[in-house]
Every structure is written in C-alpha cells, then in structure tokens.
Amino acid sequence: MEVKELIIKKVKEGFGETNVEVVDALGDLSFTVSKDKLVEFAKFLKTNSDLEFIMCKDVTAIDWATRKKRFTTVYHLYSFKLNFNLRVKANLDEEPYQVDSVSSIWESANWYERETFDMYGIDFKNHPDLRRMYMPEGFQYYPLRKDFPVLGIPGSLPLPQKPE
C-alpha cells in the first residue's frame, strides 16, 4: 500500500471520516480540519503509532482577503517513520481570528506561531509567550495582511532624529 493511502486510511479510521477533509493535489497531501478539532487532530497525528508525525516544520497562514473565511492556518508536519511531509489546515472565520495553539504538542510551533501572529495577527490561544517577533513591540499593524500597504504606514515605525 502506498504511504499516502495508508495515512488517509489511518486518519479516517482513527479520527472519524467526517471530521477531516482530504485534499490530494499536485502530489501533496493535506488535511483540513475545523479549528475546534485542531489540537485533538494534532495530538492524534503525533501519538498514533502508525503515523508518528513528530516534527512540526512550519506554521504559517494564508490571507484570502475577500473570502468569508478570511484566514487559513497551515501546519507543515513530517514523519520520520513514514518519510512523509503532510500539511494540516484550519480555516478561521470570524473576528477576532483565534485558533488554539499547538505549541503544547510540538515545541517548535512556539516560535512559528509567534511569527504568524506577528505577520498576520492571528491570536493563538493558550500560547505561552505570544509576543511580536520581527516587528518592534508596540507596532500596531500586521504586515502580511492583504490590506497592509507594501510601503507601510508612514510614521508607524520610529526613526532616530537626524543630527544637525
């Protein structure tokens, strides 16, 4: 049995057929779950003895701008056991854009989620230390959102005084 089919089968058996949406596009497999079931699903993927997705390689988000469910958070996972890359997605709809943090499951997600918060303003609930990462403290905008101008907002970032 191919690895991909095995994963789909195991996930449907272990987590329920209706809870996940399977997308197999361009050779890459991804699961979409509702944001309430995300942590549960993450725990399942990590602890299931046939899957063992123990590595979280990246957490990021997509800003769809005009869609009703504006944001999608994306989690890139890797299983050493299966030598397989997997993506898990969760759609966020209403403001404030909130989703549960997976940093309690994968330690590496801590900084990835901080980065995503910094750039997209997604509030990761139960995150131990949700601070800005790249932008200065006190910066009020989220640069990678589609409604943020490329050149920034004038005066939002302080510059030192020019000496005479």
Partner: protein, 172 residues
C-alpha cells in the same frame, strides 16, 4: 620633490596648523565597518591585498566606534537596525563622516518595503553615496578618495560649533 631634497636645502617647511591637521586627518581615515548585509563582502574585499584600502591609509577597521572617523554603512538598514546604526554613530567622536555604500543604504534599493528605511539620509548626515548593488571595491575606494578630498578642505573653524562634552571632576 621629496622630503630629503627639502632637508638639504632649508631644513624647514612653512605651513599652517590647519593644513597639517587636515592632511593628517585625511591620510588616516579609520573606518567603522558597519557591515549589515552583502555590501560588507565587497567592503572586506576592498581591504584584501588585491584592492588594498591601506594604500589610502584606511586599513585600520576598528570594531569600536570610539576610534573611528568614518562610518561605512554597508547594507540594508531596516527600521529596527536604524536605531542601532544611529547609536553607534553617536558613539563616534567628532569630526566624523559617513559613506552610504550601495543602493539599499542610499535609497532603499530593491527593498521598497515597509521594513526598510528608504535611504539612511533620513536619520544620518551622509557625505558620499556609492552606487552599485553591491558596489565594487574600486567604487568604495573612489568614495574614500572623495571623502579624503572633502576632509582635506576642512579647516579648524569648520568644527567650532561642535559641542564638547562636559567633563565633570568630582570635588572631593
């Protein structure tokens, strides 16, 4: 005419303190290598034997701003880094000069973005802009020579408005 020829003739030269000081200053400009990104590689290349910045008396790249006269800002300056660059510039003793090396430093370059300062002249007084992305070492040497010409023209009265730091001696 070398110095030796002068020695056999009169044994002395006449000049002004201003001219001597300016000559001494321009002949040993000590750069502060503010290497932030890829331009720094070309700045390092300017110090290697092929281009040899020491021909112009500027091989002493000090990594402490307290001993420097010239700041070579080599690389993309972000808004966050601008605070650091300014702080280091403030620590350099007067008189001091600034080279904006490369497109990013001069104008933001290809980083027309929210995070990059669109030209360091928004917060630093720049003396020479160097074109290129990154500029070749020759171009940096040209900028250094331009700075030297500028320093050679300075006179003591140009620095009269520099505020000397007050030294306070404890009275006990």
């Amino acid at each position: 005419m070398g110095l030796e020829a002068k020695l056999t003739q009169d044994g002395f030269v006449t000049t002004t303190i201003d001219a001597v000081v300016a000559w001494a200053r321009k002949s040993s400009v000590w750069p502060m290598p503010m290497g932030i990104s890829c331009c720094a590689i070309e700045m390092i290349a300017a110090a290697d034997p092929k281009y040899d910045i020491s021909r112009f008396g500027s091989e002493v790249m000090r990594f402490t701003p307290r001993q420097c006269d010239l700041m070579i800002v080599a690389g993309t300056v972000t808004y966050k880094m601008a605070q650091v660059v300014k702080r280091i510039y403030d620590q350099m003793p007067d008189p001091k000069w600034v080279i904006a090396m490369g497109a990013c430093t001069s104008s933001g370059g290809m980083y027309r973005s929210y995070s990059v300062v669109q030209g360091i002249d928004q917060f630093l007084p720049v003396d020479v802009y160097t074109a290129g992305c990154p500029p070749r070492p020759e171009n940096l040497l040209n900028a250094l020579i331009t700075i030297q010409e500028k320093i050679g023209k300075t006179r003591a009265r140009d620095f009269q408005d520099i505020i000397q730091p007050k030294t306070e001696i404890a009275n006990n």
